[in-house]
């Protein structure tokens, strides 16, 4: 058997091995090299898998050659091959960035632990995405969650500990709900393989345990994915985590859980059960609108830049769930595409904020919060960084020429197709809220005079700027050439909703 046939296993195994190796080596630089190499390899594998799926269709890989449904199956179709590229790509960018960014943010003696946890975190995320086994999915969810708790707690700011604890409690409740849902499904079908489960469920769809499983799963995932109003943990977690971790979480963690939601809704429960026989679309529509307006509105009044963009994430997740609620190919494509488009744009923004934080931090001191008082007149010192934040912000607004615009177009199209003009208005109005919070930053950075005794030291180092601009470039690139993003999303949507046009 050639190596290329084992790519699905290697996708997870390589990062998984890198984590204990990093701990064994105990040296920051070596640990960095190992985990970064694993991340880059994972990225290459994800691209190879995407190409393979695009060319030859769904891949089914049997771990240890155990036939499903008894063994664990890795099943890669258009949807998760696309998400894999996002997760691995973000990891491949964030890792080189993290070396320069954690220099001042995390005590040197725990650097190797940081890299090990980072490796475990994206192992977990990749695992959730690639697996075709319900229990395996839960295991990877826990791997990524536990490592995330540690990563957040590693921040020097002591409030990171409470943020991490808050996330731990909420995340554990969410995980419990998810495992209950999986248990109920196992009870009813006697299988953990997702494909097998789907075929067995079709006969017993409206039984009470299955409905209960749907409810438990939805609530559990809503907690993990920070779907309004279960988003309370997110702003603190993003705000107090170190810069690289904020970027990784913002770009991938919630996106992967949303992937799991789409997977369970469309592949296992089935579109008709979730959207046609239950009032779920209505509930989802209302909650999405709340997220889009409340979270974006709250974002405008934040004084901490990280917290501002954290609330913006809650609002953007609202767009993703809004797309689902339309129950149409256009809407679903918009959702799937926005996983990627928002991940890349928000990742870039948090990387730029990391560059600002690094600049504010003195060599021995604690990283100060990037509040607007400290950012006054920042554009004079860091024009490239500030420019980057604004361009990333334009994608959040959905200005044409950025990836965010493509999503917005499809969201509006989905609403127009159903004649829901008031939803069109809501989407557009909420995007104007994004103009408000992005321009708040513009006015502070460009028009206010720098505070007295500013400790800023010029532009950020290239080690931070290059990864950030790489993601920013992707945001612009996918605003014009959408053959990868839109192509994947449309193909995935058609695969998930084969009976719609």
């Amino acid at each position: 058997m050639s190596l290329s046939q084992h790519l699905p296993a290697l996708q997870v195994v390589l990062p998984l091995i890198s984590a204990p190796l990093a701990v064994l080596l105990r040296r920051g630089a070596l640990a960095f090299t190992i985990v970064t190499a694993a991340a880059w390899a994972a990225f290459a594998i994800a691209i190879a898998l995407w190409l393979q799926v695009a060319a030859d269709g769904t891949i089914s890989y049997h771990i240890g050659n155990w036939q499903p449904p008894w063994g664990i199956e890795y099943r890669i179709d258009r949807l998760n091959s696309f998400v894999l590229v996002l997760v691995a790509g973000i990891a491949a960018v964030v890792l080189p960035y993290s070396r320069a960014s954690i220099e001042r943010e995390i005590p040197r003696e725990s650097h190797y632990l940081f890299y090990a946890m980072l490796g475990l975190c994206f192992t977990g995320l990749l695992g959730i995405t690639i697996t075709g086994d319900a229990f395996n999915l839960f295991v990877f969810l826990e791997i990524s969650s536990l490592s995330t708790y540690v990563l957040i707690a590693l921040g020097r700011d002591r409030r990171a500990l409470t943020a991490s604890y808050q996330y731990l409690i909420m995340g554990s409740i969410g995980a419990t709900f998810i495992v209950i849902a999986i248990g109920l499904l196992y009870l009813m079908t006697g299988t953990l393989n997702l494909a097998d489960m789907a075929s067995k469920l079709s006969a017993i769809k409206s039984t009470r345990p299955v409905l209960a499983a749907l409810a438990f799963f939805t609530v559990g995932v809503s907690l993990k994915a920070a779907i309004f109003p279960l988003h309370q943990w997110l702003p603190n977690a993003y705000t107090y985590a170190s810069s690289a971790v904020s970027a990784l979480l913002a770009a991938t963690a919630t996106k992967v859980t949303l992937y799991a939601l789409i997977r369970f809704y469309f592949t296992i429960f089935g579109e008709t059960m979730v959207f046609k026989s239950l009032p779920l679309p209505e509930i989802m529509l209302v909650l999405s609108l709340f997220a889009m307006f409340v979270a974006n509105f709250v974002a405008i009044f934040q004084s901490n830049l990280k917290r501002l963009f954290a609330y913006s994430s809650v609002g953007q997740i609202g767009y993703i769930t809004l797309g689902l609620s339309f129950d149409s190919v256009s809407g679903l494509s918009a959702s799937i595409m926005h996983l990627f488009n928002h991940g890349v744009a928000k990742g870039a923004i948090f990387l730029f904020i990391g560059a600002i934080v690094a600049n504010l931090t003195s060599r021995s001191g604690m990283p100060p919060a990037p509040t607007f008082e400290r950012l006054a007149g920042l554009a004079r010192q860091m024009p490239l960084t500030c420019f980057g934040v604004v361009i990333g912000g334009l994608s959040l607004i959905g200005v044409p020429g950025t990836a965010g615009f493509i999503t917005k177009w499809y969201l509006i199209l989905a609403a127009v197709e159903q004649g829901q003009w008031w939803v069109v208005g809501a989407i557009l109005l909420s995007s104007l809220l994004a103009v408000a919070y992005v321009w708040r930053f513009v006015e502070v950075a460009w028009f206010r005079a720098p505070p007295a005794g500013s400790t800023l030291r010029g532009e950020a180092s290239w080690a931070l700027l290059i990864p950030a601009y790489a993601l920013l470039g992707a945001t612009l690139w996918f605003g014009f050439d959408t053959s990868f993003t839109l192509g994947s999303a449309l193909a995935a949507a058609h695969q998930l909703m084969p009976f719609s046009r």
Binding site: W409, L432, W439, W446, T482, L486
Partner: protein, 489 residues
């Protein structure tokens, strides 16, 4: 090089020029040379397209398609040609003027200024050549964003506030109204291409057509139709070269250009019949109301800004009347107003530069200090009033003929009344400048003379253009007739 490659070259040239300006930023002389050179090359490129377009060719260029079936594409047709000619041609003159203005007034961040300026012109040409609504929308938004640093150039509190109004209205209207209109057009017609005779299906309900038209007309905030006109006076906080080329020519013309494009090539004059009465009403109201505000504005730039708001609605009105002659008038007025209004803004900037005066009431006797400037101002004003032998007469003539041909006598009356209002707000300035004695007190000092030479040259050039375009109107007239033919299917 064939015409299709030429389009690409024209669009990339301002980008390349901007890059070169960044690199040359430390050497002002080199940087300004690059600016003028880019402008000249750009105009040369646009001129190259003129013959093919007049000859009936429609050079095309298609780039990537961000949405399947909906590419970023360009197609040069007569209306775009008019817009591109005036935007690129006046950029040369304006660059000359900017050099004098920015140096004499010791403005900061001059590199940023020239770079954003070049990119704004590039975006305006993108709008001019766009082949579909998506491309138009892309460059429309880019133009808004790239002119924001120019509007807020001074960085003062007033600039920040002006920038807020500017961005809020232009972004707000385009996002809230224009974008859904475009998406709906795509949904209903399956295309957003600009095609002679329009693209909307003929069986669209009249109510839908009316709502869609409203979304487009108010969505194109750059056309400054009331009540979404306030961004234009707010933008006057910018340095005067910006007000002159961008907020009398490139940006506002991008607005009315888009209005004409949408009316002629998306709706087509046929499908709109009977649905434009409200639009005629609003544009007439804008014409009169803005003129009245201009009448009472003492600040010279503010008076000119409201005059622009009023004049822009002539073009919207010409489109709304739906008569081929009025469409010719509207297309022609894009050029006519550009030449006249840029001259007036140049004069305002020269007065500020030489005499540090900004209010109309301070201008007593300034004609003797600055004869060239004020003569040019007079020429520009006469052209805008619509007096021969200046080009403003021609466009008003066609607008009037169109209104009469369509038997819309109310519209003709509004044009007449507004002409009187034009006289009322321009003549007092000329009267003060030439016929009142100069006052000598703390705010008024004499002996400042003319503004720097490049500025005087620029203003004389644009003033002469109003005359030349009257004597040789064929180019613009032929292009404008081409537009009107495109309207009927």
């Amino acid at each position: 090089m064939n015409a299709n490659h030429l389009i690409l070259a024209i669009l990339l040239l301002p980008l390349g020029g901007a890059l070169a300006m960044v690199l040359a930023g430390r050497w002002p002389n080199l940087r300004e040379t690059v600016t003028v050179l880019t402008a000249v090359l750009l105009f040369g490129g646009v001129i190259q397209l003129l013959d093919p377009v007049l000859g009936g060719l429609r050079p095309e260029l298609e780039l990537l398609a961000p949405i399947p079936g909906l590419p970023i594409a360009f197609r040069v047709e007569p209306l775009g040609m008019i817009f591109a000619l005036i935007a690129s041609g006046l950029w040369i003159v304006n660059s000359l003027y900017s050099i004098g203005y920015m140096r004499k007034n010791n403005e900061a961040h001059q590199t940023r200024f020239y770079v954003c300026f070049a990119l704004a012109i590039g975006a305006a040409l993108g709008i001019a050549f766009s082949a579909n609504l998506l491309t138009l929308f892309l460059f429309y938004e880019v133009l808004t964003l790239i002119t924001y640093p120019l509007v807020t150039h001074s960085g003062t509190e007033q600039a920040r506030k002006g920038g807020r109004v500017y961005l809020a209205i232009l972004m707000g209207t385009s996002m809230l109204f224009l974008l859904p209109a475009i998406v709906y057009t795509w949904h209903a017609a399956g295309t957003t291409d600009f095609r002679p005779g329009g693209i909307l299906p003929a069986d669209l309900a009249p109510a839908t057509v009316a709502v869609l038209l409203a979304l487009f007309m108010f969505g194109i905030g750059k056309a400054a139709l009331m009540p979404f006109h306030r961004w234009l006076p707010a933008a006057m906080v910018a340095p005067t070269p910006v007000s002159a080329l961008l907020h009398a020519v490139a940006v506002v013309k991008a607005g009315v250009f888009s209005v004409l494009k949408v009316v002629v090539y998306v709706f087509g004059l046929d499908i709109l019949a009977g649905t434009t009465d409200w639009l005629i009403g609003i544009s007439c109201f804008t014409i009169i109301a803005a003129s009245v505000v201009a009448l009472n504005a003492d600040n010279l730039k503010r008076r000119l800004a409201y005059s622009t708001v009023s004049q822009l609605s002539y073009i919207v009105l010409g489109a709304a009347v739906l008569a081929p002659l009025s469409v010719v008038g509207a297309a022609l007025h894009i050029a006519a107003h550009a030449f006249g209004k840029i001259t007036l803004f140049f004069a305002a900037g020269s007065i500020y530069t030489a005499a540090h005066k900004t209010e109309v009431s301070q201008l007593d006797g300034i004609g003797r200090e600055m004869p060239w400037t004020m003569c040019a101002f007079t020429v520009g004003a006469l052209s805008l009033i619509g007096i021969p032998p200046f080009v403003g007469f021609l466009s008003k003539w066609y607008l009037m003929s169109g209104a009469l041909a369509a038997e819309r006598y109310g519209v003709a009356a509004v044009i007449l009344v507004s002409t009187l209002l034009n006289v009322a707000y321009f003549l007092p300035i000329i009267h003060r400048a030439f016929f009142r004695p100069a006052r000598d007190d703390a705010h008024h000092h004499s002996g400042h003379g003319e503004a720097p030479l490049p500025m005087v040259i620029a203003i004389v050039l644009t003033a002469s253009a109003t005359l030349v375009a009257f004597i040789f109107p064929d180019i613009f007239l032929n292009l404008a007739r081409g537009v009107a033919q495109g309207g009927a299917s």
